[in-house]
C-alpha cells in the first residue's frame, strides 16, 4: 500500500511534480502493482546471493589515455540556457 503522503515523499525524491489527480492515481495504481509484487516476499531466499551483474567480465578497466573531448560549442549545443561558457541554472543556494 502506498498512501498519499508516501507518494508525495517519493515524488519529491524523484523530482516529479504531481497534480492531485496524479497523486491519487499513483497511489491506487502503484499499490495494485506492489500488491502483486509482494508475492516475492513468500520466497525463501535465505543465503541466496543477489545478482548485481549478470556478466562478470574480467578486467573492464580502461587505460589512462586521453581521448578527444567535445568542443565547448558541442558541449553546450543542446543546453536550455547558457551563460559565461557554462550551463546556466537557478542557484541551488547554500
Amino acid at each position: 500500500m502506498l498512501d498519499r503522503s508516501e507518494v508525495l515523499h517519493v515524488a519529491r525524491l524523484a523530482r516529479l511534480r504531481l497534480t492531485d489527480e496524479e497523486v491519487e492515481r499513483m497511489s491506487r495504481e502503484l499499490s495494485k502493482v506492489l500488491d502483486h509484487i509482494e508475492k516475492i516476499s513468500e520466497l525463501d531466499l535465505e543465503g541466496v546471493p543477489p545478482t548485481s551483474h549478470v556478466v562478470d567480465v574480467p578486467g573492464g578497466l580502461r587505460a589512462d589515455e586521453p581521448r578527444p573531448c567535445l568542443s565547448r560549442e558541442e558541449a553546450l549545443a543542446s543546453a536550455p540556457a547558457v551563460a559565461e561558457g557554462g550551463f546556466e541554472v537557478p542557484s541551488p543556494g547554500l
Binding site: 502506498l2 508516501e6 507518494v7 517519493v10 515524488a11 519529491r12 525524491l13 524523484a14 523530482r15 516529479l16 511534480r17 504531481l18 496524479e22 499513483m26 495504481e29 502503484l30 495494485k32 502493482v33 506492489l34 502483486h36 509484487i37 509482494e38 508475492k39 516475492i40 516476499s41 520466497l43 531466499l45 541466496v48 546471493p49 543477489p50 545478482t51 548485481s52 551483474h53 549478470v54 556478466v55 567480465v57 573492464g60 578497466l61 580502461r62 567535445l70 558541442e74 549545443a77 543542446s78 543546453a79 536550455p80 540556457a81 550551463f87 541554472v89 537557478p90 542557484s91 541551488p92 543556494g93
Partner: protein, 472 residues
Amino acid sequence: MTLLALTAAQAAEQVRAGELAPAELWEAYRERAAADELNAFLWVADEAPASPADDAPLAGVPFAAKDLFCVRGVPSQAASRILEDYRPPYTATVVEQIVAAGAPVLGKTNQDEFAMGSSNENSGFGPVLNPWDRSRVPGGSSGGSAAAVAAGLAPWAIGTDTGGSIRQPAALCGVVGLKPTYGACSRYGMIAFASSLDQAGPLTRDVTDAALLFSAMVGKDHCDSTSVAFPEAVRRPRAEDLRGIRLGVPEELTSEAEGLEPGVRENFEATLRLAEELGAEVEPTRLPHAAHGLSAYYLIAPAEASSNLARYDGVRYGLRVEADGDLVDMYSRTRAAGFGPEVKRRIMLGTYALSAGYYDAYYGRAQRVRTKIAEDFAGAFERFDFVVTPTSPTVAFPLGARTDDPLAMYLADYCTVPMPLAGIPAISIPNGLSEGLPTSFQIAGPAFSENRILDAAYALEQAIGFDGSVPR
C-alpha cells in the same frame, strides 16, 4: 514490386552480384518510410548515403534504428518529449558497426517512451499502428521497428529488449526478433532504460536476416565495460532439421500460465509437433521461479530506470520548464512536463523500491530472485538445449484495451522477462495466425548460444512456412 519481396539478405546478395543498385534500394525504401501511415518512423533520412564498399557484408541494405539509439546530428529522443529534437554529438556503437558493415541509417523508429511499455501506446509522439490490423497495437517497446519491418517500410531494423521489447513486438507484428546474450552487443549510445537488462538486437523478416544483421552488431566495445567479445563467428543458419535437439517446455510459462489465448496455445502445440517431426525431443520442464520473474522484473527495471532517468533535469539538454527561479521547482516542473504517465509511474515505483527502508524488501530481494531464475535456467540447460514458450500469451490487442490497467499490461510480459533477468538469449519467430493475427514461438538458450538458436529457429521457420507478406 519485386524489390519489396526480397529479404535483406537476398537484397544484399543481388547488390553484391551487381543485379541491384544500392541507390535504387535506398530510394525505394526511403519513399516507403517517408510515406509511413503507421507512425512507425519519427525521422526519415533525406540524404542518400555513400555507396557501400564492394565487400561490405550488409551491401547497402538500409536499416531502421529505434529512436533510442543515438545517431550523431539526428533526432534521438527515446520517443520522449523531454528529449524532443535532441541531436546527440555522437553515434551508438552498434549503429556505427552496422553502418561500417555497409548498411545506411534509413530512419529512426517510434517506440514506447524510454522503452517502457508493451504496446507502443506510451510514445511521446503517438502510438504505432499494427500493419496487420491498424486498430491494434504493434507491441512494444520496439513497436516502430517491428511495424516498419512487417509493413515493408524498412528491410530490417534494430531495437532493444529489456523485458521483451524486441521479441514481443516482433511476435505481434509477425517478424523475427532476437534478444542477444547480455553483453554481446555494446550498449554505448543506447539511451538507457534498465542498464542490467537492456540489449540491442535485430528485428527482421526472417531468421537469416536476423543472423546477418546480428553478425554486424556483436563485439566487445571499449566504451561499454559490460560488453563481451562474442566467442565465435556469427554464422548464417542452415540447419534443416532438429535431430538431437532437446526442447524443454516450462510448465510455469505454458500449461499453467494464466491468460494464454487458445489460438496461441494451439499454434504453440502445433509448432512443438513440427519440432518433433524435425527430430527434436520435446519434454516438459520446470522453471520454479519463473512465475516470480515479473515481480523481480517490475522492481529491478523501474529501480534502474529511476536512476537512469535522473539525468533529464533540464540542465544540459532537453526540455526545461522554469517558473520562479527555484532550482528544485525547475527540476520538478521539467520532469513533470517532459515525461509521460508510464515513465512517471515507473520512476515512482523504482524510486520507492530503492528508498530507505525498502531496499532489502524490494530491490535486494528482486536481485536474489534473479539469481534463482538464472539457476533455474542453468538447471534446465543441463537436460535441454533450449527452453521454448509462446512469446506473447495473446495476439495483438486493440489500441486502448489495456491502457487503464497498468498491472494487466505488465502481466502479459511473463514469457519474455525471465530471459533478460538471466542474461540469456532468446528469439521469437512467427508460427502462424490466430484470428488473422500473428502468433509466435520463443526459443531461449544458454549464454552465447545464438548460433545454435538461430539454426533451430531456421529449421522451424522453413517447416512452418509463415507468410508475412500480407501487411506489405
